[in-house]
């Protein structure tokens, strides 16, 4: 056990013995030179196109003036952040963002997995492929059309109310917003998202199944002992990444769906920033909010990664 010497190593351990460090490194380079050669273009890509522009993050700490540029604009320190934190709605915005995200995590994350498992259980191949194809179709319909349908279905005199002979104003009720938002999202994307898991299932060695069948395992045991462990690495990694997206609830669909009567549950960080942008196009403000979100997301990711490394052995690093 060695202690970390840099903060980077706390997060991404190198596991090197202190002595003979240079020798270890040069040996590694020699042994794996092809691997490093492969890695080089990828790292270069990230360096140029992602780290290159990263200086722009300081916009969050400036009063950005496009004509003066990033380095010519006045420094305002934490003013933009304070503007955001001082909003009367700050707490509510955070709560709504997290609430929607967690609801989507609890229901929307497992749904494609379950779908993939169910599709996998089908015996007849043509039907299997039909189900898979049909379920991914709504993914391609634009969100404007999907919300348009929803507004029509859930209107007071719309389909849903007619079906159940009720008169509930779904689209104007804050109590219903999250369910409608998350539910419609699952409906639209579950098929598409299941593709990754189907592919993971497809890479499982079929001989494992044969062996299990010979041992007399029924389909439930096969699923439990073969399929699920087979896709577990994929599931875990995607779950870690999903934790790193907790604060990222986009505004596009919400803007189409919400109205002031549902602000209580529907107004999230991104929609608030959007409305503020109508009053004053303010790069700095949205950059500051974005940085805030990213910092929280990243911290969550690191935490999730660590926990996962301990519990399951799978992790990003």
């Amino acid at each position: 056990m060695r202690t970390a010497t840099t903060s980077l190593e706390i997060i991404a351990p190198l596991n090197l013995p202190k002595k003979g460090r240079w020798q270890t490194i040069s040996r590694d380079f020699r042994r794996n030179k092809h691997v490093y050669l492969m890695l080089l273009p990828v790292l270069l890509y990230y360096l140029i196109f992602h780290y290159g522009p990263m200086y722009g993050a300081v916009i969050a700490f400036e009063d950005f003036n496009p004509i003066k540029g990033v380095f010519g604009s006045t420094w305002v320190g934490l003013q933009n952040f304070q503007d955001f934190f001082s909003s009367v709605y700050f707490g509510r915005l955070i709560f709504n963002t997290v609430a929607i995200s967690v609801l989507d995590l609890v229901f929307g994350f497992p749904a494609p997995i379950i779908l993939a498992l169910l599709i996998n259980e089908l015996r007849w191949n043509p039907f299997k492929r039909l189900v898979q194809t049909v379920t991914y179709l709504p993914h391609f319909v634009s969100v404007v059309v999907v919300v348009g349908m929803m507004v029509d279905f859930f209107a007071r005199d719309g389909l849903v109310n007619q079906l159940f002979a009720t008169n509930v104003a779904y689209m104007q009720s804050a109590e219903w917003f999250r369910q409608l938002f998350v539910g419609s999202g699952i409906w639209q994307h579950v098929g598409w998202l299941s593709i990754v898991y189907l592919a993971a299932i497809a890479t499982i060695d079929p001989q494992l199944y044969d062996a299990a069948k010979v041992d007399g395992a029924d389909r439930f045991r096969q699923m439990w002992h073969i399929t699920i462990p087979g896709i577990l690495p994929t599931v875990v990694i995607l779950l870690i990444l999903r934790m790193g997206m907790l604060m990222s609830v986009g505004y596009e669909k919400i803007i189409l769906m919400y109205n002031p009567l549902t602000y209580e549950t529907a107004d999230v960080i991104s929609t608030y920033v959007f409305r503020r942008g109508i009053l004053q196009a303010d790069f700095s403000f949205s950059a500051a909010v974005g940085l805030f979100n990213s910092a929280i997301n990243f911290a969550l990711l690191i935490g999730a990664n660590r926990i996962s490394r301990r519990l399951s052995g799978h992790s990003l690093w």
């Binding site: 691997v35 492969m38 890695l39 990828v42 790292l43 890509y45 409906w187 497809a202 990213s294 690093w317």
Partner: protein, 304 residues
Amino acid sequence: MVATALRPRRIRHKESSGERLFGFGTVLFLVALMGVTIYPLIYVLFASLSNAAELTQHRGLLFAPLSFTFEAYRRVLENPLILTGYRNTLFIVIVGTALNVFLTALGAYALSRRNVLLRNPAMFFIVFTMFFSGGLIPTYLLVGQTLHLQNTLWALIIPGAVQTLNLIIMRTAFQGVPVALEEAARIDGANDWTILFRIFLPLSWPVVAVMILFYGVAHWNSFFSALVYIRERDLYPLQLVLREILISSNVQNMATDVSSGDVLAIGETIKYATIIVATLPILLVYPYLQRYFVKGVTIGAIKE
């Protein structure tokens, strides 16, 4: 070490009643799910073939086109930019996806190697960029001005050469390949390149197919980069062309020209026609990719 296709050997075993019930329930559930998920596209299809004025009046479910007409498609496909739109998008999809898959495979393989020292720091280096970026203006200045990619299709391909999410998915898949295979190959004297291209990739066709699908569809649907970097309308990719048609036909809705009331509402049906025009090619190509990741024919590896 060699991957071959096996004819599936059916090992029969007696299904319990619990299993049969489960199977039956699954089918029932999936049929219901299909019914619900196919509806949006059916609606879009029928709406695109409907008379616009009637569509405006219509509320609720749509089970057939209203007064069947191709008017919306005529409007969309007659636009002079449609052909160039398809051409540009095809270029981006083919060249872009090839570049994407190649680089992603390289990176995923490298990052999945267990005994590589820089592995963890490299992962951190890469994943960090998922969270922190410089924003639109610095990126625009870099790509457009410093690299002079402004107003070229390369601006739509190179800045997005690797998507971190896809890289991670592929790495996870590569990590799942049994170590024994790799070791056997090394004993035979293969180097990493051979291992990657002769063993890992053929074994991971499902994931490669998914990569092609994800990257391909992303390129096909992309329009934001084009909005930022493309100036000449001849270089507009398909989505941008469709977006313009949509916007200009919606505003057309606003015209006061009374004599052509039908013509005005056409914006509605054009909206749906553009979705079909954009999605149909994907739907046509999809089955070719699908068979790789919906397990049916057994493509597996025989050890040794």
